[in-house]
Point group: C2
Chain length 724, copies 2
């Protein structure tokens, strides 16, 4: 074992692959002239296509294309055809290709990138094309795209709307699969793969790992404001704004090496459930595993499976693990050291990158295939005092991927990121030796399921700062999302926002009321506040706003808006095609006063005594959704201060789903008199002991969007009452 | 038995009751001055109240109030309290009384006028008030109404909106119950009733019946146009227009006497199912009966139960039967005579009344309590050559009650008539000895279930004319009624009628098309025509219009409109309170060309080959409701003539209720490419082999009313295609 290995020597001696034409550079999209850009992109496309094909040359024979690298994944033949198919699909969708190139192959190779269910993988369902057929197909696609690039009219800059955007999308998509396919190849039986001079293994295998130490990273801010058109091609999740202040922390100088990780293995870390969270324990016992996935033990000796080679364990190389293993190591390490050791957040990693000025060292990092087709020792590539801040292997973070402010989906690829906003996909950063293109453009954000394996390891940090691991996900509960749009979304048929309208009406009334116009300490209660828009509007005038709703599903959104200032949701466009929406209190001018609100879950037919002492109570579109509307009306007077105002509105849409017929306030023939009973009459009767009606009832229209073409359009009857 | 009885003597000798103050006259409501009208109505009210109380004096004791006259009816105590309760309910509803007078009594006496189910009549449910309590209650109501009449402000004429209308409604309602209660009293045990000098029995009991003969009634027209404000109080069903031509017929000179009916009884008519229709046979076997209901047989002798007396059978009095018995008699009589003997229709009875000038003889008829409190011999009261055209007993007709053109419900009593528009309530005409007020005002139309007994008999006629016995009933099928309103009803939110809009669009397109603008023999097919409005609109231009719909429920309405020119339906206002609507092709200017339409039930996904050779095919709001929309589009071209036009429109509201997801044309991610598929793209792809799109797609809004406050507001995307 070489022990006197020096990082300095390492860096200078090794970039053997740098002259190879497989090394690429990101295309600048917002600058340059059309024809030279056309040439650049054409070259980048062909280089990508070459590179991808070159990777598959590492398969030992055609049979290897049909083996499953993992029981839940398609064989590599699928991925070989998939990236070309993706080009075709996106270009057909963008109306840049007149028709499909090979519908049969495209049918087989479009869907199934991710883990699938057992059922989908039944071999009987697949009659894969031959390798030669895919090669021929790729040639056809290559020709079509070259022709397209040659002929398409476009202007600079190349932005989301540019016809070259889907071309770039196909290229960068293929570069992602270059990396993920290299992982799948690494999972094939060793006899199915062949080393290739284009993908050289790092020879520095027998060096000992350095002792890891924790170095300080000072506090700092993260300020991201990434907008289209940008310098490089980006995926939807990179765009938008993000600001964070990162407290000072300590970070390990090196990635955790196989050596360092071995201590955890030897300490029985894999057997001890206390180092694993609930999800981690589920994975651990399901697998079951005792060491990192690419480690092999033969004759009591440890080996590492690389992409095309099995080698004696290179103890100085980074340990490659999934998130659960990395997090378990940190828990063990924290226990050992008594320090708050954990994985960094995305922001902490970004702070480390800034602090170490790692982007300045990127050309000397083990990434972009510019060094080796394998890991290298963890003390090989410095960035300031740290090593491997960028490159070598990806580094897991504690942060599940979430959208930046102003996130929008690209219409040609609306499911690239959105399905991963589920708090189950964690971000890893930095890139690996085979990360190229967008993966290492400095903006990209990739996230994987926490049990997935990639060329990924980790660096640990010491910090007492809290890490956010739950983000608001896209509200997909149909009715809740519908109400998000109703309260915060667009106006349809020129009908003004309903919640804003009645809240403004309430403000107008109380601000001109003889008892209340002079007071600044007013308290208002909204019963049935749903997702809270009216409460936020009321808070611009009232001093204290309480919003109650029976449904925790709805009130949760109001709370979330108050806490985070924004809400994400999806609403149907046509059939199952969804639109992705984000709404912010700030954009509605409601952020500053939102803290005056309080939102609570409460049954309007059975309200707690504590809800009392209000100057105004509002119940809009509520009565016909209560199981005992009478009880609410009979119980409301004592909750109001003297002279207090009650605002009611309802479309009187009585429905036995919500209210048993015997409890309807109207809309039936009276069981005793046989006469029609109208709701307004019953309300008048129930309120008359304590209230006088102010003015005449008035109709307020509202529109609830169901799809982009279908709406509910309703008239709610609003009445105002003053407590005697 | 007196045999030399002469009608002339009879008429002159008998009106012994005419001086009694129980005889009333209808109040003229459209003429007179306010104060004298106030006095007249007050007097009419008190006389009615007196009369009703007088009737109940015939009960032998208080116990009699609590006996059931019939197993499915309340005891008379209910009816004694009911008419006063009705006053209260209507006056409270009309906001003319500030509050209920006796909520407890009113709760018990409001509902249950008609036959009830066994369950409702469980005595345990009722704790009837004492007779004295009802007497006291009636006094209170009487005082309140006298005060109301004294004080209420009103103007002449007294119309449906007048505050005196509900007072008149209460009075006339009580007069109806005067008669129906007299029937219930007639059904009590004889020991529970007492003869009263106010309700004298006709002494002419022992006269023989005349031989009935058929006399000619010449053909003539019926022309009714009865509008508010009218001369007298009327129920909703009397108003509107009705025109009919009545062919000449022969009518029996006399009502059928007990003598004449006895021949049918003796001939075994009650045992022979061939004289009874299906419903009649059900009633006959359920009862089971062998003779008219008020007949009694003791010691082989026949007796008749009158209101307060049992007497030896007065063979010359009219037979009192229900509709089934009357109709069975006619069938038997027809068989016996070989002539087309049957009951008259309402129109035929009206023609008989005109022809006999019976209204001129009304003062001498046995009605309005002006003669006896029983029947009189059938040859007693002449009207021209006929007898008893008005009065004595009601006369069944073959006509189920139906609304005249322009029928509207009165808002204070929306269920007076509407529940009887069910083809199960037959009209009887003429009135009985106890018919008063509205019952004999010349306009009224009363109908009862065909198995009910009243003081009712019949007259038969000879005629080969067809009689209409099925009328359109109120469409109460929620979705069908909703579409009736959508196609023929009001416009909401200023959105123009949708069916008319797209039909006009179709006409505009074809009338300017190079291939069709010059042709007058154009054929159009609408697939998914629903209740047919667009077809009727298309028929104003096209020479031949075929409308197809999968749903027999919907196409039935289109057919009915074509046949009868009108449709009736109910739509929800608030909860279960319904609005009653009638729509006419004539009012829409569509009556004249309606005959060019043909409506057929047909599956759009599997249309018969016969539907071909069209110049235009229209399918609006259809595609997303088909189970195989693709099949429809693939199959449509060959049904069009060369250059033919195809109009499609849809909101693309794909829904698995109608279309399995695998058959959606869009609104999903393609299973092969994973890309979003929009419906319009699929339509373009499916139609492109045979069609070229004309112009750009356009959005046409439509509004479907759900309640008076709730609507669906949708945008349908319309595209036009020309066959290559």
């Amino acid at each position: 074992m070489e022990t006197a290995f020096s990082a300095d020597v390492f860096n200078k001696s090794l970039p053997i692959n740098q002259q190879c034409n497989l090394i690429s550079h990101n295309i600048v999209l917002n600058h340059g002239d059309v024809e030279s850009k056309r040439a650049e992109i054409k070259s980048y496309f062909n280089q990508t296509f070459d590179l991808y094909e070159a990777l598959f040359e590492t398969l030992a024979n055609d049979e290897a294309f049909y083996l499953r690298p993992c029981s839940l994944r398609h064989p590599l033949i699928f991925y070989f055809g998939h990236t070309a198919t993706f080009f075709t699909n996106k270009l057909v969708l963008a109306k840049l290709l007149p028709k499909r190139i090979n519908p049969q192959i495209e049918a087989m190779c479009a869907i199934g990138v991710d883990e699938m269910s057992w059922d989908d993988l039944n071999d009987a369902h697949y009659d894969w094309p031959s390798v030669q057929a895919i090669r021929n197909y790729r040639q056809e696609v290559r020709a079509a795209i070259n022709q397209l690039i040659d002929q398409v009219e476009f202007t600079m800059p190349i932005n989301w709307q540019s016809p070259l955007w889907p071309v770039m999308m196909g290229i960068e998509h293929e570069r992602i699969h270059l990396e993920t396919s290299s992982v799948l190849i690494r999972q094939l039986p060793i006899e199915s793969v062949l080393p290739s001079p284009l993908f050289p293994l790092c020879p520095l295998q027998d060096v000992s790992a350095p002792n890891n130490t924790l170095l300080t990273v000072t506090a700092g801010d993260i300020n991201i404001n990434h907008q289209d058109p940008a310098q490089y091609y980006g995926w939807d999740n990179e765009y938008g704004k993000h600001h964070a202040h990162v407290q000072a922390f300590k970070a390990s100088q090196y990635l955790v090496s196989n050596q360092e990780f071995f201590e955890f293995v030897e300490a029985g870390g894999y057997e001890n459930s206390q180092y694993w969270d609930e999800e981690g324990n589920r994975w651990r016992t399901f697998s079951p595993v005792k060491h990192p996935s690419f480690w092999l033990q033969k004759d009591n000796k440890w080996y590492l499976r690389c992409m095309t080679d099995e080698i004696a364990m290179p103890w100085s190389w980074p340990a490659e693990v999934n998130f659960h293993e990395a997090a378990a190591f940190c828990r063990w390490k924290a226990e050992q050291t008594g320090k708050p050791i954990r994985l960094p957040s995305e922001d902490e990693w970004l702070r480390l990158r800034d602090f170490s000025q790692a982007l300045d060292y990127q050309d000397e990092a083990n990434c972009n295939l510019q060094m080796y087709a394998s890991s290298t020792p963890v003390n090989g590539c410095a960035a300031g005092d740290f090593f491997d801040v960028i490159g070598n292997v990806w580094q897991w973070t504690q942060t599940p991927i979430y959208p930046f402010d102003g996130f929008k989906v690209h219409p040609l690829y609306d499911d690239f990121t959105t399905p991963t906003f589920d708090n189950q996909h964690n971000i890893f950063k930095g890139g690996s030796w085979i990360s190229t293109g967008n993966e290492i453009n400095g903006h990209s954000r990739y996230a994987f399921r926490r049990h997935f394996f990639q060329h990924a390891g980790f660096r640990y940090i010491e910090s007492k700062a809290e890490v956010q691991t739950e983000f608001s996900t896209y509200e997909t509960d149909g009715s809740v999302a519908q109400y998000c749009e109703f309260h915060y979304g667009a106006e349809y048929f020129n009908v003004p926002n309903f919640a804003k309208t009645y809240a403004q009406h309430a403000i107008n009334i109380i601000s001109t009321d003889r008892d209340f116009s002079h007071r600044a300490d007013l308290r208002v209660l909204e019963v049935g506040c749903s997702v809270g828009r009216a409460c936020f509007e009321l808070a611009t005038y009232f001093n204290e706003v309480t919003g109650l709703d029976f449904s925790a599903r709805f009130i949760r959104i109001a709370n979330q808006l108050q806490t985070t200032g924004s809400v994400l949701y999806t609403i149907p466009q046509e059939g199952e095609i969804m639109a992705f929406k984000e709404q912010k209190l700030r954009d509605l001018g409601l952020a500053k006063t939102a803290s005056k609100c309080e939102f609570l879950q409460q049954d309007a037919s059975n309200m707690k005594p504590i809800f009392t002492g209000y100057d105004m109570i509002i119940a809009v579109n509520l009565l016909d959704r209560l199981y005992e509307p009478k009880k609410f009306l009979q119980d409301v007077a004592h909750r109001l201060n003297d002279g207090g105002l009650l605002m009611l509105a309802s479309p009187y849409s009585w429905d036995e789903t919500f209210t048993q017929k015997e409890n309807w306030l109207g809309g039936y023939k009276d069981g005793q008199s046989g006469e029609n009973v109208h709701t307004l009459e019953s309300i008048e009767q129930l309120l008359s002991p304590d209230f006088a009606m102010l003015g005449a009832p008035q109709d307020i229209p509202f529109v609830i969007r169901e799809t982009q073409r279908k709406f509910q359009h309703t008239m709610s009857q609003l009445t105002l009452w003053k407590k005697r």
